[in-house]
């Protein structure tokens, strides 16, 4: 629009001469408001003019009777008005319909939805905001097809994994996330306020290849809100307050059940019975003590508007969420400030400026691991009280590895703050209406401070987590030299890291249509990117009074500072790119597009630093063909794309051997630093290459139903792999790693469906329905030669590797013994065709996979595929009804067909257990499902399908009921709109999984689906208010 305005302005200068007759008038919209700066063309001579800022115009025409004026303005339909002798005109322009106005950002430019040839999905900011989620990634779950989001942690500020079209690599599967052109990593998303988002566009197929070496995992383009030209300022408040609770507690043994079952297990193990009296009642419900209800609140204030040549949008946000476990020990808080500002600096030069500031603070508890708070909660003994005497926590002395979870939470002081400035200064120079030149400069500066205070603590005799030597919290003495002892005391660790990304991008955009038939679009540009980071960290001992009040390095009283230590790190990486995109459309019916990107990355060595990534795509609007005569189908487009993109997400400098291994030994009783090679060099290291084919169809039916489907084949080759290598390479010392090599292939194939229904705008009941479904077929096609598999997560403590990356299977599939019931009698064992060494009645029957007549426990030959964490189907369903100011909306997400490893049960004789053990084997015929319980040696605890559960779930993620007050009432109090609502998140989850939360992700693909007692997502009830002045 500006381009056209500027163009018109230019020409105005040349038409100062007066000739012929004058026609003047006003240009209004349907609401009779003036439309400023409308472009007007005289059809007789093609001369352009421009109306003024109030929609008024005055034009000299040669012939009032025959002249036809063409009015055009952004967002409005073009209108031809024959003057027909009138000297004063009132022109009313109609706003363009939503579908043609719909443009999406596709990387270094925009495209009309209609003209898209790639597979993209757009999410509107309001749909994200409505979810009332902390982070954008959480809100994105279930919104669009092809994008699978799983939660890493339900704790406040916990991240989620976004996977676009499956897992394509062993390493980093995160998509490239660009917020106003600035790269955000998963961790950085904590800083982004979902309320600041105007729209998200997900580039799923090869057309993401405009981002070249970083595009293989897909690209998510986030735009923040901006203002509008010539609008008076409007102030909007949007806030909610809610209370969260755990959606689920596990069914654990009561004290009495526990005592009975432990007695039996000890008896089976040939040991003395631990409980002489089993009549212990319910005992302690550790879960009741650990889980609490916690508040969550969000307040957003925004100011939007614009004058004749500027537009602005200012946002302020405050968010705070306490944890349902740990309250303020697991807290997330965030302040946001945002300024989007655009102005026409001159006739041809336009500035777009964005500044995002955020300050967030997160405190965390140990979670999702052995020894985490919830792990201890599950395994804590129900016969022990929380407090053994007032003020003293019980110790649970039978087991060293299980500590009192309440005491554990009290002693955690672990928090970090991140202050972040993100911005963009974009200059667009419009040569004429066809050609523009954009130069933009992006920056992202983050300052991350973290602190961990480790007080002297005592959890009971022999507990692994003790830092004091006794219950009086006396400090251990450390011998630092022969007979020289110093007091250790409480410790504090502090770290300050700064990160700076700088991007400079420069590109030309060209767009021209000839004879309304041949449309050509072109983009040619270059991009320079640098990221650097540095960190300084230190640990100091002897924190006075063992108190958080003095938890700072500055307060340390460490004798001589001998134990204190400092460390630092620094890195830098660069990317240099040129890109070209050429598009051609014939009568908006046949569309072809080609992309070529060349990237140079400092991550790779000189041998293969540069890569070229081509993409080609096309579309065919069948519905525009003359032969297409369907009355019900309004729009039908076929799309196809194929292209190559890359993934460079590996550690920096992996191509060269650095002396960054650990070479430390002790001479003269002092730690002596040496050097060692960290990772052997691989000068030929290069990016992973993904070749993706996509065929898709977009269809509009009866004007109210939009349907989109895609089928894709995504093959990733040259995986950036850190495979096991021969020990002879010497890569397995401390701080040593195998070389990263390019080897192995992964394939993802799948279908995506999106169907949306929007009722006619005239209907009294407004209905909006969206459904999407994704299927993914993931398979490892090959692994490096000589490598059988890459081992992943372990089962239990010191147990076998339970997940693998192996040819012919899904990434991270579960590998263990298959069971076939429970041995009922000794005869059954003796007569079994398969010899299972050590088996006793009540033990699990393992399946002989290699048919050698026995179960091999010392190798893997009888283990098999037990499932994987990758869902077969993911589905999202959203609904929205409006009637007379009332609205009801909801969002359902389902992931089906994935498995979860139940790994939160500590295999300790005294650990508490889930109530399913009540149905254990107790004698012939008692059960064929659950094995006997014993503290003696047994193979029942080896990793088998007994520990694998169906992880499928359907979840009502958000339900909201709102009421918007009638505007007649509001006008009197000078309020433009006012809506109140109540909402609930995670109200209902349907699943057969026994653990806390089946929505269980992991940023590491090989530990996905392994549940150590994950911090569950909270169920929250909220009420909110939206008011606009």
């Amino acid at each position: 629009m500006i381009r056209k305005l500027v163009m018109a302005l230019l020409c105005c200068i040349g038409v100062a001469q007066v000739y012929g007759q004058t026609v003047s008038g006003t240009i209004l919209n349907e609401r009779s408001e003036a439309i400023p700066y409308v472009k007007i063309i005289q059809k007789s001579n093609n001369k352009p003019f421009l109306s003024d800022g109030k929609g008024l115009f005055q034009i000299q025409v040669s012939d009032l009777n025959t002249e036809i004026l063409v009015f055009s303005a952004m967002g409005y339909q073009k209108l031809e008005v024959p003057v027909m002798g009138k000297t004063n005109l009132t022109v009313v322009l109609l706003e363009v319909a939503q579908d043609t106005k719909d443009v999406v950002v596709v990387g270094y430019g925009t495209s009309k939805t209609k003209e898209l040839t790639g597979a993209t999905s757009k999410v509107k900011g309001e749909d994200l905001e409505k979810m009332n989620m902390t982070r954008m990634d959480q809100a994105l779950q279930g919104q669009v097809s092809g994008v699978t989001v799983s939660s890493n942690s339900g704790s406040p500020g916990g991240s989620a994994n976004i996977r676009i079209r499956g897992l394509s690599t062993f390493g980093d599967n995160d998509p490239l996330i660009l917020v106003d052109g600035v790269v955000y990593d998963s961790e950085g998303l904590n800083a982004l306020n979902p309320s600041d988002i105007k729209s998200i566009n997900v580039l799923k197929d090869a057309t993401a290849g405009i981002y070249g070496v970083r595009a293989a995992n897909g690209v998510i383009i986030v735009e923040t809100k901006n203002g509008a030209i010539n609008r008076k300022p409007s102030i909007e408040y949007n806030g909610y307050y809610g209370v969260q609770q755990t959606a689920r507690k596990l069914d654990l043994l009561t004290a009495e059940e526990y005592a009975v079952i432990k007695n039996e297990a000890f008896a089976f193990g040939g040991q003395a019975l631990p409980f002489a009296n089993t009549n212990l009642g319910t005992g302690t419900s550790w879960q009741d003590s650990v889980f609490s209800s916690a508040p969550v609140q969000s307040h957003n204030l925004s100011l939007n508007g614009g004058t004749l040549n500027t537009r602005y949008s200012i946002g302020l946000g405050y968010f705070n969420q306490e944890g349902i476990v740990g309250a303020d020990k697991a807290n997330f808080g965030r302040y946001n400030a945002r300024l989007n500002f655009s102005t026409d600096m001159s006739e041809k030069l336009k500035l777009n400026s964005v500044l995002l500031f955020s300050s967030d603070m997160r405190s965390t508890l140990p979670e999702n691991g052995i020894g985490s708070v919830l792990y201890n909660t599950i395994n804590a003994f129900p016969n022990e009280p929380v407090y053994s005497s007032p003020g003293t926590f019980s110790y649970m002395e039978e087991v060293s590895d299980i500590i009192n979870p309440i005491a554990q939470m009290m002693n955690q002081y672990n928090w970090s703050t991140a202050n972040k400035f993100v911005g963009k200064e974009e200059f667009i120079y419009e040569f004429n209406e066809n050609l523009s030149f954009t130069n933009r400069f992006n920056y992202n500066y983050a300052n991350v401070d973290s602190k961990v205070f480790s007080p002297l603590v005592w959890y009971g005799e022999g507990k692994y987590a003790n830092t004091a030597v006794n219950a009086d919290l006396e400090s251990p003495e450390v011998e630092i030299a022969d007979s020289v002892f110093i007091t250790r005391g409480a410790a504090v660790y502090e770290e300050r890291s700064t990160f700076l990304d700088l991007t400079y991008e420069s590109f030309l955009n060209y767009e021209k249509t000839w004879n309304e038939t041949h449309k050509v679009k072109g983009t040619l540009g270059a991009s320079v990117f640098e990221r650097k980071g540095q960190s300084l960290n230190g640990v100091a001992f002897g924190i006075p009074n063992n108190s958080i009040d003095y938890a700072d390095i500055s307060a340390n009283t460490a004798q001589g500072g001998y134990l204190n230590n400092v460390n630092s790190w620094e890195f830098k990486e660069r990317l240099l790119s040129t890109f070209l995109r050429a598009e051609y459309a014939y009568k908006e019916k046949y569309l072809v597009s080609g992309i070529l990107r060349r990237d140079g990355s400092s991550k790779f060595g000189p041998n293969s630093r540069w890569g070229i990534f081509p993409t080609i795509s096309g579309g065919w609007l069948l519905s525009d063909e003359a032969f297409f005569k369907s009355k019900s189908i309004d729009f039908l487009k076929l799309r196809m794309s194929y292209g190559v993109s890359g993934n460079d997400q590996i550690p920096n400098f992996a191509y060269r051997a650095l002396l960054n291994g650990e070479g430390v030994y002790v001479f003269d009783d002092l730690i002596t630093q040496g050097v060692a090679i960290g990772r052997p060099a691989n000068p030929d290291l290069k990016w992973e290459t993904t070749r993706q084919f996509n065929v898709g169809l977009d269809l509009t039916w009866l004007k109210v139903i939009n349907f989109t489907t895609n089928y894709f084949i995504k093959n990733t080759n040259d995986l950036l792999f850190q495979p096991d290598v021969s020990a002879l390479l010497g890569s397995y010392g401390p701080g040593g790693y195998p070389p990263i090599i390019n080897a192995g292939d992964v394939s993802n194939k799948g279908w995506e469906f999106e169907i949306a229904y929007q009722s006619d705008k005239k209907n009294l009941l407004q209905t909006n329905l969206n459904f999407n479904l994704t299927t993914i077929n993931n398979k490892v096609v090959s692994v490096p030669t000589g490598v059988q598999y890459i081992p992943g997560a372990s089962f239990s403590v010191g147990g076998d590797v339970a997940t693998r990356f192996q040819e012919g299977y899904e990434i991270g599939y579960f590998f263990g013994y298959q069971t076939a019931g429970v041995f009922q009698t000794q005869e059954e064992i003796d007569n079994a065709a398969v010899v299972q060494e050590g088996a006793q009645p009540g033990d699990l029957i393992f399946v002989d996979q290699n048919d050698d007549g026995k179960i091999n426990f010392s190798d893997d030959s009888d283990k098999t595929n037990l499932g994987s964490a990758i869902p077969d189907f993911t589905m999202g369903f959203a609904f929205n009804f409006k009637l007379h100011g009332f609205d009801l909306s909801g969002n359902v997400y389902a992931a089906l067909g994935q498995e979860i490893i139940r790994n939160y049960e500590r295999q300790q004789p005294y650990a508490n257990q889930l109530a399913y053990v009540i149905d254990r084997w107790t004698g012939p015929g008692s059960t064929n499902e659950h094995p006997r319980l014993t503290t003696g040696p047994t193979n029942n605890n080896l990793f088998s399908d007994y520990f694998v559960e169906d992880g499928s779930f359907v979840r009502l993620r958000n339900l909201q009921f709102g009421y918007t007050l009638p505007s007649t009432v509001l006008r009197k109090i000078h309020v433009e709109s006012l809506r109140v609502y109540v909402a609930a998140n995670n109200l209902i989850t349907l699943t057969r999984y026994m653990g806390f939360d089946p929505d269980l992700g992991s940023s590491s693909v090989l530990s996905a689906g392994v549940d150590y007692g994950m911090y569950p997502q909270a169920r929250s009830l909220m009420s909110g208010l939206q008011i606009k002045f």
């Binding site: 002395e397 060293s400 120079y429 005799e461 022999g462 692994y464 830092t467 251990p476 011998e479 420069s506 040619l524 540009g525 270059a526 134990l563 620094e570 890195f571 790119s577 060349r598 140079g600 990355s601 400092s602 000189p606 920096n652 400098f653 060269r656 051997a657 650095l658 002396l659 960054n660 070479g663 430390v664 030994y665 002790v666 001479f667 003269d668 009783d669 730690i671 040496g674 050097v675 090679i677 021969s726 020990a727 002879l728 390479l729 010497g730 890569s731 397995y732 010392g733 401390p734 000589g786 403590v797 010191g798 147990g799 010392s858 190798d859 893997d860 295999q907 300790q908 003696g936 040696p937």
Partner: protein, 464 residues
């Protein structure tokens, strides 16, 4: 128009920018490339420290040398806790065994790090270089010997000659720093290698040299021989050095600077005097305990009878400990065990400053006795063995049978990781170890994955 030209030129410049290879040649800040590293004497010294580092993996050799023998069971939290050790205990180990794989990997890493110095030995010359190279050769010999003990004749990369004899000539007789390899260490190691090769004449000769040096003597109080306080005593020939100053995680035992064996071998869940608590690994068998004479000071010093110990304490009733589901014998390894006063910073479980006495004078005396007996010098053997027996507080005896040397060796050195290899070396393994299959279990299997990764060209050890 002029503006347009400028902009076009500027744009052309930007587009051609990518030709700028230099922009992408980012050097890692403050990091040292592995190539062109050896420029100063300090560089050699620092690389040597890196080569010493892998000695600290010794805890596995200690465990396996005991657990696979008749001296100890695996123990631990459950039978699946370090399952590889349980398999070794039961002689059911195969080509997939995490602990054996670590032994294989870590010792090859040690060799690689020593070779890194030796490959670049000609870069510069400086006084003291010969000694650094000799230390590197000693370390390489040590790591290679570990591999051969476990896996047989595995490939030695780069250099087929070990160079330990030459190294012995160069190394200082007395270590410049506590923990450095010395001439005595190199000769003792060489003597051990000869013994394993049944080259008794060579073994006797070199071991007698160590004895004749007069540098070493038996430390009289056997009961405190393995304490931190006794480190560096005259019996020390070569210790693997540990410190309690740096903690670590279970995820990377090789990254520790403390002795992992000590905490792991501690008493599970122990709450009482003298000892700290631990993970009840590597538990001595009753049979080992019974092998000692009641008057032998080494019995109590080697094997802790936990129940007897507790019963003897004044507050016996308040002392508690737990039994791990990985096995319980009532005995703990009293040489390497977590003791109060020897705890580590910052975690007690993983970090212990107790050195592993990998080569001590008593071992040399017994090796010399064995070699001498085998070459017909029984009187010298008697003389040497009786030095050991005297310190142990038991009467002298005439060595008229090689079995007597073997038994003395077991009594003196049990709990220190030698037993399995001694039994194999002397052909007694099948006699003492239940499940031991002659012709198979003398060697551990080469980790199957290593055979695969080497391109399948290696043959697995017989029987696996």
């Amino acid at each position: 128009m002029k503006k347009l030209i400028y902009i076009t030129l500027a744009f052309a410049a930007i587009v051609t920018l990518p030709a700028c290879e230099k922009f992408l040649s980012v050097d890692p800040p403050y990091a040292q490339d592995a190539e062109n590293f050896f420029q100063t004497p300090e560089d050699y010294e620092r690389a040597l420290v890196g080569a010493y580092d892998l000695l600290q993996s010794s805890f596995l050799s200690l465990w396996i040398g005991e657990i696979a023998s008749d001296n100890a069971i695996a123990g631990g939290e459950s039978v699946n806790d370090s399952k590889g050790l349980h398999d070794l205990d039961n002689m059911t180990h195969g080509g997939v065994n995490a602990e054996l794989r670590s032994v294989f990997r870590w010792n090859y890493t040690g060799i690689t790090r020593a070779n890194y110095i030796l490959e670049h030995q000609d870069n510069i010359d400086f006084p003291g270089k010969a000694h650094i190279l000799a230390e590197a050769k000693f370390l390489r010999a040590y790591y290679y010997f570990e591999l051969v003990k476990f896996f047989g004749d595995v490939p030695l990369i780069i250099d087929k000659r070990i160079g330990i004899i030459a190294a012995a000539a160069v190394l200082n007789p007395v270590a410049a720093q506590k923990g450095r390899a010395t001439r005595g260490a190199a000769k003792s190691l060489l003597g051990k290698v000869y013994l394993y090769q049944n080259k008794f004449t060579e073994a006797a000769a070199i071991l007698e040299e160590v004895i004749a040096s007069g540098q070493y003597s038996l430390y009289q109080d056997y009961s405190t021989l393995f304490s931190v306080a006794a480190e560096g005593n005259p019996e020390t020939i070569f210790d693997i050095e540990y410190t309690g100053l740096e903690g670590g995680s279970y995820g990377c035992l090789i990254c520790l600077e403390g002795n992992a064996a000590v905490g792991f071998q501690g008493i599970r869940q122990y709450n009482g005097p003298v000892y700290g608590d631990g993970n009840s690994y590597n538990l001595p068998t009753p049979e080992l305990y019974a092998a000692f004479s009641p008057i032998d000071v080494r019995r109590a010093a080697t094997v802790l009878d936990i129940d007897a110990f507790i019963a003897a304490q004044p507050n016996a009733a308040s002392i508690t400990y737990a039994i791990g589901a990985g096995g319980h014998t009532g005995y703990y390894n009293n040489k390497y065990i977590k003791r109060q006063g020897e705890i580590g910073l910052p975690d007690n479980d993983l970090t212990s400053p107790v050195n592993y006495r990998v080569l001590r004078y008593a071992d040399v005396l017994l090796m010399a006795a064995e070699a001498n007996y085998q070459i017909g010098n029984a009187s010298r053997a008697t003389q040497l063995v009786n030095q050991i027996r005297q310190r142990a507080g038991i009467p002298g005896a005439s060595v008229n049978n090689i079995e007597k040397v073997y038994l003395e060796r077991r009594l003196e050195l049990s709990g220190e990781g030698h037993r399995f290899f001694d039994l194999v070396r002397t052909g007694q393994a099948a006699q003492y170890i239940p499940g031991f299959v002659t012709g198979k279990h003398e060697l551990f299997p080469i980790p199957q994955v290593e055979i695969d990764l080497a391109g399948g060209n290696w043959t697995q050890n017989p029987g696996y």
